[in-house]
């Protein structure tokens, strides 16, 4: 058994580490695709300017080639970003399986759209065709951006939920510790500790209100990019306030423990 144990531990570590390696890998791939997109977009702009300036057949052909490359790379970039979100969702342990499944299905739908959009690009034969194909993505872009923001909000909520779960465990254990050792405290001190426990629970309630607000705002995300940005800013504000309530509650718990530590 002693000989097997190191190998067993190594196996367990290898099982756990790919979870983090996957999202890191997805992030590196996203950054790589973004760099490629910047290059192809820059080439596209140069060829477009030349075509608009000279209007020759050669410049038109070059502009068409560069446009197709740029459109392909654009879809690749957006797809890489959605895969990154998917990996982050998988890593978020604070989300329930239903919630995770909901957002992952949204991401899969968007990835399918991008794949079907990419399939149209090889058949582009003119600049007009390229404009039409690009417009298909443009008309869907707001929905894509809303899905992205909903997923980001869900990932943040998952992280906060994990902290709140730890918070609840500590509060329950603290309450049990106080109730089991009431004889050590004077009646006045018992009253103070009970009042403090209520205030700690109150912070947890305020946190819950904020996270419920975030879920409500996230489910109604829609509109053009500026409107989505405004709504997302409101979501960020509520997430920050929820975190702040948890921080204040944990500070109260620390005070509670200091009071328990000393007799008076």
């Amino acid at each position: 058994m002693k000989h097997i144990l190191p190998y067993l531990l190594t196996f367990v570590v290898l099982l756990i580490s790919p979870v983090y390696a996957t999202s890191q890998q997805a992030y590196q791939d996203y950054l790589y695709q973004f760099d490629l997109y910047r290059t192809t977009f820059s080439d596209f702009q140069v060829s477009k300017n030349e075509y608009e300036k000279f209007g020759s057949l050669t410049s038109e052909t070059t502009a068409l080639e560069k446009t197709k490359l740029m459109l392909t790379q654009r879809d690749q970039l957006l797809r890489a970003y959605l895969l990154l979100l998917n990996e982050k969702l998988s890593e978020s342990s604070g989300l329930s399986s239903n919630e995770r499944g909901l957002y992952q299905s949204l991401l899969i739908n968007e990835v399918k759209f991008l794949e079907s959009h990419s399939a149209l690009i090889p058949s582009i034969g003119s600049l007009e065709d390229a404009v039409d194909v690009s417009k298909q993505l443009e008309s869907h872009y707001n929905i894509l951006q809303a899905t992205m923001r909903q997923t980001i909000s869900a990932i943040s909520l998952g992280g906060l939920s994990e902290l709140a779960s730890q918070y609840d465990t500590v509060v329950i254990d603290a309450k049990n510790l106080i109730s089991q050792n009431r004889t050590f405290f004077s009646p006045q001190k018992q009253a103070v500790l009970d009042r403090w426990v209520l205030q700690i629970a109150n912070k947890r309630s305020l946190y819950q209100q904020k996270t419920d607000t975030v879920k409500s705002l996230s489910s109604t995300l829609k509109g053009d990019i500026p409107k989505l940005d405004d709504q997302f800013t409101s979501i960020q504000k509520n997430l920050s306030e929820a975190r702040q309530y948890l921080a204040e509650g944990s500070s109260f718990i620390t005070e509670l423990f200091t009071a328990i530590r000393y007799q008076e």
Partner: protein, 126 residues
């Protein structure tokens, strides 16, 4: 200043001889007045010079000693019996870990900022 020699003069003064007196500022002045003036100026200067150091000494104020406060010892609080329990110690480390996790939590992961792309192609043909 040379004193004018006092000679006994029994004969009446000679009208042709003009007695010699010191001239001050182009005008003839009495020697005694001059001496007195010089002495007065000298005395006044000495008095002024003597006054300055005294004045300086008078303006020096001895520093007042800083009052030494008596340090009071920190009151020792009696530790309750609960503080030595394993449940308490375990919980204490849990809350410390939770507090640091909350402080370190980033509300929005900056690596997840969505890419904002310029989608319109806009070919302006000649």
């Amino acid at each position: 200043m040379e004193e004018i020699p006092q000679t006994q003069n029994t004969q009446p003064p000679d009208a042709s001889v003009v007695p010699q007196h010191p001239v001050i500022n182009g005008k003839p002045g009495k020697p005694k007045t001059l001496i007195a003036a010089i002495i007065a100026v000298a005395l006044g200067t000495l008095i002024v010079l003597a006054y300055q150091p005294i004045k300086g000494i008078q303006t020096v104020v001895a520093p007042t000693p800083t009052p030494i406060s008596q340090a009071t010892p920190t009151p020792i609080r009696a530790v309750s019996a609960i503080a030595t329990q394993s449940a308490f110690l375990s919980l204490e480390s849990s809350i410390a870990s939770l507090s640091s996790s909350i402080q370190a939590f980033t509300v929005l992961d900056p690596s997840l900022t969505p890419p904002i792309l310029d989608l319109t192609l806009k070919f302006n043909r000649k």
